[in-house]
Amino acid sequence: MFFFKVLNCTAPLRTEASIAAGGAEIENARAEGKSVAYQTRMQQKSGVKGYSLFFAPSPAAREAYPHLKDLWDMGLTAVPYDTMHLVLLNVVPHLWRLFAGLKLVNKKKDEDYIMPKVTVARIGMELRGARRTVPMAQAMSLRNIEVHHKSFKAIDWMHFILCSGEVLLAGRIPSDYFDIFMALSRACRLPFRPRGVLKTEIEAIDKDLKYFVSSYYTKIYRGTTERLPLCLSTIATLLDIVPLLWACGPA
């Protein structure tokens, strides 16, 4: 996929088999009693921490859970994503960390999408101050995001991406990045509601998500080796939401 294209990078793409092999290698090192530093180096090299029941099951797990065989046989791509974790607990907090200057690349603080600390503090106060205008059930979502972002729940991030983020970020980050944020916001407003979505709405979601993903990789990740920490697979995974909506309906 062109989104992951890194300049002058010839490393082979990871496959399901290579990930399982990496997991087995780590587990063997652990069983042989290798040092923690050695294990950590291997984990960083392979990007896998060990066996995973759904992703890379161990031989013992395969034996203990025969009823999961169908799931393993289907392969990873056939399993629908949980949009709560994908969008609300991965992508949205990542965007906040970027804009609030909490996710730096090579400790560079002069990125044009990073807001000044004063602005971040003001945003937190404004969000906290809006409590009295919302129903009781939503008031918990309006905590000071600067102070409490680490303990924000999915429901808090949902309020941020659907409602408050638009107001708090408008005019405070460059319009290119605000447009990226709003594309995700618009895409989330349709499926994250109790009633279903129409065909035309799914097409609109698809358009917004494609704009978000392509703009993210172009304007934020920018395809360079030094910015690889911003090349997250969770961003590209958003492109699977619409096919999954067609297949399974809203999550």
């Binding site: 949980d82 919302v134 129903p135 309020h159 408008a170 994250f192």
Partner: protein, 256 residues
């Protein structure tokens, strides 16, 4: 599905035979859910007598005043309420003006009203009212900014006057239930918002900042309007002295 998976761990209970244990526990839970939902729905009296638990009250709370609507769902004024009192001064004048606009055949010189402080709108959301005195309950009166379905007059090319629907904003001070013209009527006493777009004497309209509806705050004229004209409760964030109206969110729009 995520929530369901999260509960499965507690149901396994044994390491020796997890699948059989999980199956048995899930089956028992499903049966229990089925029996309780059937009992509560089809034999509520017998269910309450057996379990000793009274069924949960549904719909609007006791003491509410339901306002029947000709079209769409009914609205309701919710307790607590104040005893009947005579409207005076500005409130009385506003009420008389509203009754004339509503084409009431009888516009009395004195009007007695019961005041309420919360209302369930036709949209299903609960609108509070501003904190106006020592009798107020701070925990209940919080979401009082409302979007109002209004009409405005404008000149057509042939110099005749036309009417069009517009959306305006205001804050509810209280709700009044009155019995006039031989029928009960309900009104919201609303103060219009001010915005940068307002001209003199024309309040309630929002301005647009960054494509978002905004207003400067309260301070416009106060008037009565039928509760049915309240479209929805709006959430706002105050930023640099300007109140920004948040996007209306469906999942919680009916929550209190």
């Amino acid at each position: 599905m995520e929530r369901k998976i999260g509960t499965l761990g507690k149901l396994i209970r044994t390491a020796s035979n997890p699948h059989a244990s999980l199956t048995a526990n899930v089956t028992r839970h499903c049966k229990a859910d089925l029996v309780s939902s059937f009992g509560e729905l089809y034999v509520p009296k017998e269910w309450a007598a057996t379990t000793g638990k009274q069924p949960e009250a549904t719909g609007i709370p006791v003491g509410s005043w339901v306002i029947p609507e000709d079209v769409g769902p009914d609205c309701a004024l919710l307790p607590p309420k104040k005893p009947s009192l005579h409207l005076r001064g500005m409130e009385l004048e506003s009420m008389r003006a509203t009754l004339m606009l509503e084409s009431a055949t009888e516009v009395p010189l004195a009007t007695e009203a019961k005041k309420y402080y919360r209302a369930k709108l036709a949209s299903g959301s609960v609108a509070g009212s501003t904190v106006v005195g020592s009798d107020s309950d701070k925990h209940r009166r919080r979401n009082y900014s409302v979007r109002i379905n209004s009409t405005e007059e404008f000149f057509l090319p042939d110099r005749t006057v036309g009417k069009r629907l517009v959306s305006t904003f205001g804050a509810v001070l209280y709700y009044a239930a009155v019995f006039i013209d031989g029928r009960p009527m309900s009104f919201a006493y609303v103060q219009r918002v001010k915005s940068a777009k307002d001209r003199s004497g024309r309040y309630g309209y929002s301005a647009m900042n960054y494509g978002i509806e905004t207003f400067l705050g309260l301070g416009g004229s106060t008037y009565y309007l039928p509760v049915a004209a309240l479209s929805e409760v709006v959430e706002t964030i105050e930023r640099e002295g300007v109140h920004y109206v948040l996007h209306t969110r469906e999942p919680f729009s009916v929550s209190e």
